[in-house]
């Protein structure tokens, strides 16, 4: 008789923001080509720890499971990534799952990323269209321009870059790479460019563009391979230019 293959997971649990964290270890039957989400679902169907103790199902955030919504971001074996695209066959065991550390924990693997969405408001991350009425076609754009914009606009606000950034910590409110890169996206657009100064202005602050310490961790963890460091460098140049123009009242 062959012994059934199993997958071992070690999961950091926390019942609420005010409860202390604890670790639980689970063992689930091996399934070929399974991802971490599948293991979490296996635990839901049988919420018992490896040593036979009944527990509550693990709580996590997820939605699309195709790595386009950004919801299921967590630390998998210490590396920040989406749990849906973390395939068990490629992971060392026990698979260690933890919530991201740079965001407040809600419960178990769920964190509160509202800081990022609030920051998008601060930098006016939108094209200020006149309205939804029929005003004809949009501005023309070269294929090259579209390719850069598309690359930037695939940002899922997942939080990987924020998690990996050493400048985001208890002592700083650095706005983080993703949001700076969004400023680059909207400032590139022929219409968005018209109010680029407003967005640059919002980055001039110790929590803004100058908060970057150049560690370059962000670009390494971005699941969509967005050129975050290039975005930050470009926006640093733009804000400098903008500040000089401001001094000489050129605008």
């Amino acid at each position: 008789m062959t012994e059934q293959r199993t997958i071992e997971l070690k999961i950091k649990r926390q019942d609420s923001p005010n409860d202390p964290p604890r670790w639980e270890v689970f063992s689930v039957p091996y399934l070929p080509r399974a991802n971490v989400i599948t293991c979490l679902k296996q635990i839901q169907s049988n919420p018992v720890t490896k040593d036979g103790k009944e527990t509550t199902p693990v709580v996590w955030d997820s939605n699309c499971l195709e790595e386009v919504c950004g919801a299921c971001t967590m630390l998998v074996n210490g590396k920040v990534r989406q749990a849906c695209s973390a395939l068990v066959d490629q992971l060392e065991q026990p698979i260690v799952l933890e919530p991201m550390r740079k965001f407040p924990t809600v419960r178990d693997l769920v964190v509160d990323r509202s800081f990022m969405f609030e920051s998008l408001k601060r930098v006016k991350a939108w094209i200020p269209i006149d309205g939804s009425y029929d005003l004809g076609a949009g501005p023309r754009m070269s294929e090259r321009q579209q390719e850069i914009a598309y690359m930037l606009s695939r940002c899922m606000t997942c939080g990987c870059c924020v998690e990996a950034c050493p400048q985001v910590n208890e002592r700083s409110d650095f706005i983080g790479p993703a949001v700076i890169s969004q400023v680059r996206l909207f400032n590139l657009h022929p219409t968005g460019e018209m109010n680029r100064w407003e967005r640059l202005e919002s980055l001039i602050d110790k929590d803004g563009i100058s908060g970057c310490g150049g560690a370059q961790n962000c670009v390494k963890v971005c699941p969509k391979e967005i050129q975050l460091t290039e975005s930050i460098a470009a926006m640093a140049r733009e804000t400098s230019k903008y500040q000089i123009r401001k001094i000489f009242h050129m605008d």
């Binding site: 998008l120 408001k121 029929d134």
Partner: protein, 651 residues
């Protein structure tokens, strides 16, 4: 001050339809409270890959909104109400322009215009796309506009909140909603003068589908239980090309075929050779062979059925499994990355093989619900929608609207690819002025309703959740959900048989009874997912019964609903137009009743008669209404006044 100026609207769901409605309402100056399970930027619309349709005829093919309309109605096997389809197709180019102005990163032509590609069910380049993540890009653009209105104070978001039900006043009108905070688990009722449900499809009823984890259909069922009509439930689209997974099935966009992807199996049954080593003449391109005109781009119901036939009936699936090849290896890497990058990446990440080098292995999966909440509309004499009519997209509950996949309009018995993004945005946009008119006609505001009305609903829901919390049976609800999914997948999928559907209905009742033997797995009072899952699970059974009973009673083949027992085969060389001539002749005044003199061959005449009899009996909308847990099914006429229904043909 008028009532309207002080009115407030609640939108539930922040995918394309919900955000389009929210944006437009805010633009009209109407404050919106926007509720969603997830931060709206993470809604299921992100999964839409291939594109959005709009007939612009930029490639000189002779395309037009009318042709788009015809393709849509034909693709849906003539089950859709035509006025909404026509107005949607006419608005489509303007919608694409609007999204472009908002900054959607559509792929471009050399000259810098929006590029268009081909999709299923049409012969024209009509689909605008942003790589292979078009839904994500469109959603982000709307999310950004709504964020702008949020900053202006016109939109207030309630993310991580769950819609439990509508608040109905003594006249049965919708006066707000009851919702639950998914972190604190607090249950609260919110007044509103109109409510829009934009809560998406019900894929989770089938366990695993291409849908996201929020797509459990619970919002639709909640209002169905409150008296809303649910229409065409049995029309579930099976997408022909998905990658199987344990947690979900991942979509391989139709755009893969739109960009030249070819579907094939080895001619030799059980051929285990590496697909790249199988020479061209030993491959069977079964779609291209059977449908020379549309080839790999036949509509989804046709493609899914053919793949099923090849795998199940002929047992010619790859390695004997229910899988076929979807081959893009003849295209250049550069082009694939530029036009299909998003899906190339998904296949690579989740399967671990490079689809630029190796043909993909794909199989059909539950993808979309053409059916949904019944909603009304008002048409003018020419068959177009009366803009601003309060009836547009209103359910049969006054003040309750539904838009997007949760409604049943536009797609009939089968949706064409890249029409869903269009119908979601179109519906969201036209519903806002409809609501504005509705608000203008209200004689009292929700705020003036007694507090006790809202407290009553809050109390009712709190009691319901207290009951679920106290359940301590032995059955694990997640396992019961898997059983439900397996039952539906085995019996209510591509090919349907009455004996099995009848048995499935009985099985569903038995399985639903097991729900009472489930145990609540989590006694916690904070972010308790298990508690709400129990609630969803009960509702999924309710919806499964609607789908199954609708399928059982509909004795015909139409679009995604295929019952071999009732299949009427077209005679060889049949031309769909002959059906139009036939109906014209037999309904002409003075027709003597002798059909044999009409100039059709006996074989043809037999087919025409049977087809007409089928349409006379079944070309109707299925309506399900809840009668104490049993769906009562009735049928309703369809407006087919613009293009007469006829047999579909794609070869």
């Amino acid at each position: 001050m008028s009532y309207m100026a002080k009115s407030e609207v609640i939108v539930v769901g922040g995918g394309l339809a919900g955000l389009a409605a929210t944006m437009k309402l805010a633009e009209l100056g109407i404050p919106v409270k926007l509720f969603s399970f997830v931060p709206v930027k993470r809604s299921h619309s992100v999964c839409a890959q291939g594109g959005i349709n709009g007939a612009v005829n930029t490639k000189g093919e002779g395309d037009s909104p009318w042709v788009h309309f015809f393709d849509t109605v034909k693709g849906g096997d003539f089950l859709a109400h035509q006025p909404l389809c026509l107005s949607m197709c006419e608005d489509a180019p303007r919608i694409i322009n609007l999204m472009d102005r908002m900054g959607v990163t559509f792929n471009r032509t050399n000259e810098g215009f929006i590029d268009f590609r081909r999709f299923g069910g049409t012969l024209f380049h009509r689909t605008a796309y942003a790589g292979a993540t078009t839904g994500q890009q469109l959603l982000y653009a709307l999310d950004e506009q709504v964020r702008r209105y949020e900053v202006e104070g016109l939109v207030e978001k309630f993310e991580f909140w769950e819609f439990l039900g509508s608040v109905l006043d003594e006249d049965g009108a919708c006066r707000g909603i009851t919702a639950m905070d998914l972190h604190s688990m607090e249950i609260r009722s919110f007044p509103a003068d109109a409510v829009v449900l934009a809560t998406g499809g019900p894929g989770l009823v089938y366990g695993r589908s291409t849908n996201s984890m929020v797509n459990n259909g619970s919002a639709a069922v909640a209002v169905y239980k409150q008296g809303a009509k649910y229409a065409n439930g049995e029309f579930i689209q099976i997408h022909p090309t998905a990658i199987p997974g344990w947690d979900k099935h991942r979509l391989m966009s139709e755009s893969a075929r739109g960009e030249g992807g070819r579907v094939w199996v080895p001619k030799k049954k059980g051929d285990t050779r590496n697909p790249r080593e199988i020479p061209e003449e030993e491959r069977w391109y079964f779609l291209e062979e059977k449908y020379p005109r549309f080839g790999n781009l036949v509509p989804r119901d046709v493609a899914a059925k053919e793949i099923y036939h090849v795998c199940v009936d002929l047992e010619m699936g790859i390695d004997g499994e229910n899988m076929v090849f979807l081959d893009l290896t003849h295209k250049s890497r550069e082009e694939l990355d530029r036009k299909l990058g998003g899906i190339m990446e998904i296949y690579e990440k989740f399967v671990g093989e490079d689809p630029r080098e190796v043909p993909m292995r794909i199989f059909p999966a539950v993808h979309y619900s053409m059916g949904g909440l019944w909603v009304d509309y008002e048409r003018d004499a020419e068959g177009r929608i009366v803009e601003g009519s309060p009836r547009n997209h209103m359910t049969n509950i006054p003040g309750l609207y539904a838009v997007g996949e949760v409604d049943y309009q536009y797609h009939g018995a089968n949706r064409l690819g890249a029409n869903s993004l269009l119908s979601c945005i179109y519906a969201g946009l036209i519903t806002a002025p409809s609501i504005q008119t509705y608000l203008g006609g209200l004689s009292a505001r929700a705020q003036e309703k007694p507090e006790s009305l809202y407290a009553g609903f809050t109390q009712e829901w709190s009691t319901r959740f207290d009951e679920i919390r106290a359940m301590n049976g032995k059955i694990n609800p997640y396992q019961l959900h898997q059983d439900l999914g397996d039952l539906m997948l085995s019996n209510v999928l591509i090919v349907r048989h009455n004996d099995r559907l009848e048995k499935t209905l009985e099985e569903l009742d038995k399985m639903q009874a097991l729900w009472f033997e489930c145990g609540n797995l989590d006694g916690g009072t904070w972010a308790n997912d298990s508690l709400r899952f129990m609630h969803h699970l009960w509702y999924m059974f309710e919806l499964a019964k609607v789908i199954t009973k609708g399928a059982l009673l509909r004795n015909e083949c139409r679009g995604a609903h295929y019952k071999p027992e009732f299949e009427i085969s077209q005679p060889a060389g049949f031309k769909p137009d002959s059906y139009l001539r036939y109906t014209e002749k037999v309904t002409a005044p003075g027709f003597d009743g002798d059909e044999t003199k009409l100039g059709f061959s006996p074989e043809e005449l037999d087919y025409l008669r049977r087809f007409k009899a089928q349409n006379d009996e079944w070309l109707k909308t299925t309506i399900a209404q809840d009668r104490d847990g049993v769906p009562e099914i009735t049928y309703e006429a369809i407006d087919t006044s613009l293009v007469p229904p006829r047999p579909r043909k794609y070869d």
